[in-house]
Symmetry: C2
């Protein structure tokens, strides 16, 4: 199979109670591709970077099976930059800087070799860009997942709903599910959102895990309790990359497999938050992943 | 086996976005006893009420196997009264009235028939009262569980720690675990709290479920996503009653059984919040409970 991932590749400056890093590599496409690369080996990245994006970072991803043929490099401009500071509880953060730079001109053109990707992950971007990517697929993908945020609900709800109507899986957080549906109860919100088109809704609840709604079925993947969460940046993208990477590897779309994908996504995200930036998820071993999957089993499984 | 439950029996006036009820029956001992009564049939209640507490409420509990021999009735005084209003998100509430009434004089004297109860649930009360109850046991109970809150940490931390040192299981919420341990990370907080004496710590996370820490083991019982949460009052006590009721019924203290008890407690709590006051948990059938246990299995179980 093959997994197309559209999203930002960027620089981040991040401050948390555990420290501060400046101009480190970030971006949804980067986090999701790294995460997926442990599970599948045919990743088609679609993004845009400036001349300042390190070539060796791209090459490392290439070596892990992530093609950058769809990553536009604008030599005389800068990459997208985000700076943020997390509050003491790590559940909220202030955005200090958002420099769109090259992202302002992002108009993705898919290489021909990408156009029949079976799995598609549309990272959080303008809904117009997400639709443009779907429009360029020549073969109907087996699964399209879309990630978005409240910002697009505020300024482009109609276009966003058009995009959502075309995807199989939507990933948003609990507040966004409430905003999108106008319902406070997550169960009622999920019912309404599934009527908008997607077959599945994943509600991300940060340190509390993630909920999968699929028809009238519900599955809860808790977050693994972590002793020290150093930096939550990218955890949602790492979850999405692990989730889609697992689906792409297995190629199977049963509900049982979606549940397994939730656990793989949560496993990858649990590593992400343990160190700043990509530090931890750039250096994992299969043994570590297998061990952590076992911890998820221990955390959740019981016999009645 | 037999389960001793100490706690308030009270009147509540409750307002939530779904409605308002005045002077309904509440109290930790009431909720916990009702919950436990579906799982075990030998409950020893210890509480204090005024002459205004309805006799038929007590009789209904008696018929379900909950002895009120240890409930002191002060005929010329009023029962404990609490009034609260929940915010729109149901996760926080304002206390409008707390009239201690008879509770100000609560000095529990255990009937002889209670003193060899194998399981003991010390509901949220002054740590002095919790200690007095433990002091009166003539046979060492198999399990003592203690529930408490930030209020006692603020005004009686030393006595509270003496009580905690003597119990097997402590149940508190996430903020209280942080306050008690001085640690933000729940994993580190749990390590410190388990060093204070208890063998197990249950961290209640409201709509996000509950975490069991036992040695270096962790188990997560999510809350079942409920379409309409009408009134969260008593959910924690209902959880505790279900948890201890299951342990008392089975009499087995293995880790596997503690996990099952977590699921039984969560199941009972999921009913509690669906209606105001005790309305739902006074009218359950075994079939409803069995069905909901199955829903918890569906919500959490997967194969890797």
């Amino acid at each position: 199979m093959s997994l197309l991932i559209v999203g930002t590749m960027a620089f981040d400056s991040i401050e948390t109670p555990y420290g501060k890093v400046e101009m480190v590599i970030g971006g949804a496409c980067t986090y999701a591709s790294w995460s997926a690369s442990y599970l599948t080996d045919k990743i088609n990245m679609v993004s845009i970077v400036g001349g300042d994006f390190p070539e060796d970072e791209m090459e490392t991803l290439n070596k892990r099976g992530a093609s950058s043929e769809g990553v536009e490099i604008v030599k005389d401009k800068k990459s997208f930059f985000w700076a943020g500071k997390y509050h003491d509880n790590m559940n909220s953060r202030d955005t200090l800087v958002t420099d769109l730079n090259v992202l302002a001109d992002f108009d993705p053109v898919l290489p021909d070799s990408y156009k029949n990707s079976e799995f598609v992950l549309l990272g959080n971007l303008t809904p117009e860009v997400q639709i443009k990517v779907m429009d360029q697929m020549t073969t109907k993908p087996k699964v399209i997942a879309l990630d978005t945020m409240n910002f697009w609900m505020d300024i482009a709800m109609d276009t966003l709903k058009q995009a959502i109507a075309r995807v199989d899986i939507l990933t948003i957080n609990d507040e966004e599910a409430r905003q999108l549906s106008g319902e406070y109860s997550l169960v009622t919100a999920a019912d309404k959102i599934l009527e908008m088109g997607p077959k599945a809704l994943i509600i991300k609840k940060g340190e509390h895990g993630a909920l999968l709604f699929y028809g009238d079925k519900k599955f809860y993947a808790p977050a693994l309790p972590i002793a020290v969460v150093k930096d939550p940046t990218g955890a949602g993208d790492t979850f999405a990359g692990g989730f889609m990477g697992y689906l792409d590897k297995s190629g199977e779309l049963s509900y049982e497999n979606l549940k397994r994908a939730m656990i793989y996504g949560s496993t990858m995200a649990s590593f992400c938050v343990e160190e700043f930036s990509l530090e931890k998820i750039q250096a994992l071993t299969d043994e570590e992943i297998t061990k952590r999957l076992g911890q998820f089993k221990e955390l959740t499984q019981f016999d009645l």
